[in-house]
């Protein structure tokens, strides 16, 4: 588990402004074993922090595209692929920190979601304590990997303030 991934390719990078916050979206895509296409969006914000999201293209136009399940039983390979993309971003930007939220299922509360538990377990097992400091907020099902190359000791509060202004968590 968490060894093999799907081949992925970068689609593009585009600048956007959401609620007066400037960000760059790095978009990637890959195909699962059933040839289903997935999109990975890595939103790069200030402080070199990337919010990582992914969804199946089938759900692209759904309002809750991040909450849906595909039911294809390829979750571990999808997570491995997303991680490989994060590693590629880290090669480009050695100061990159990563944040992600375990979106609730359609009938689930926002706190301590099933996805959050899974991501926390995977990250705890596969990301060592040398390069990243790991923090989480169970009430929001949010996890953050803070790059230790960063010298700003108050970066965590700054990132929280930034995300609070954008996301309704």
């Amino acid at each position: 588990m968490f060894i093999s991934s799907f081949p992925f390719k970068k689609i593009n990078s585009q600048s956007r402004i959401i609620d007066n916050v400037h960000l760059v979206e790095h978009n990637y895509q890959f195909r699962g074993k059933s040839n289903k296409r997935y999109i990975v969006v890595c939103e790069q914000y200030d402080f070199n922090v990337y919010a990582v999201k992914f969804y199946a293209v089938d759900h692209k136009f759904c309002a809750n595209k991040f909450k849906r399940l595909t039911g294809n039983s390829e979750g571990s390979r999808i997570i491995t692929t997303v991680s490989k993309i994060m590693i590629e971003l880290l090669k480009d930007n050695p100061f990159a920190s990563f944040a992600f939220v375990g979106s609730p299922l359609l009938n689930e509360e926002q706190s301590n979601t099933k996805r959050f538990k899974l991501y926390a377990k995977v990250v705890g097992n596969l990301v060592g304590p040398i390069f990243f400091e790991q923090h989480f907020d169970e009430s929001k099902s949010a996890y953050i990997l803070l790059n230790k190359n960063n010298e700003d000791k108050f970066i965590l509060d700054k990132i929280q303030a930034l995300f609070s202004s954008i996301y309704d968590l």
Partner: protein, 174 residues
């Protein structure tokens, strides 16, 4: 990857700890079987050249090892450094009770040759216990958050928690 000097430091500390712990077990067992007086008799008739040579070797090894210790304890550069460090620390910790028994020896009541040897074993043991304590303190920075948060809902995951919950079958990605 670990630099070769660091690798030697770890390998040497494990070798010395194994040697001393093995010797402690041998001496305690031999003493229990033959008794203290017969043990001393065997020492003066058969073993003393070997034991004194061992004591001199241990003395020289300890001095060179202490110099290396000061020089070779560095920050972790990769996750492999960390994994290797954890493995060595766990091996050393498993030998720690036996090393502590050596540091409780009272060699000053024994004849010169024996006390010299036991003193050198004690000094080497003390050096190895220092390696264990340095190795533990090297991890302490990973157990304290560098980036603090005013929000109490945000919790830091320390190195010890990560290690406790980790499945060692997985390799670190980063």
């Amino acid at each position: 990857m670990l630099t070769s000097s660091q690798y030697n430091l770890y390998e040497n500390s494990i070798s010395y700890a194994n040697t001393l712990a093995g010797l402690e077990t041998f001496l305690a067992g031999f003493k229990r079987i033959v008794g203290k007086f017969l043990l001393l008799f065997c020492y003066y008739t058969i073993f003393w050249p070997f034991v004194l040579t061992f004591a001199l070797w241990l003395n020289l090894e300890r001095r060179s090892f202490q110099k290396k210790m000061k020089r070779d304890f560095k920050e972790f550069e990769t996750s492999n450094d960390y994994l290797k460090h954890k493995k060595v620390l766990m091996d050393l910790k498993s030998l720690e009770p036996r090393l502590k028994r050596i540091s409780n020896y009272q060699p000053h009541r024994l004849p010169f040759g024996v006390s010299y040897t036991l003193n050198n074993m004690k000094k080497m043991t003390s050096t190895l216990l220092t390696v264990i304590s340095w190795s533990e303190s090297r991890l302490s920075s990973l157990n304290h958050a560098k980036f603090a948060s005013a929000n109490h809902d945000v919790k830091f995951v320390s190195e010890s928690e990560l290690w406790k919950n980790r499945n060692s079958a997985y390799q670190y990605w980063m």
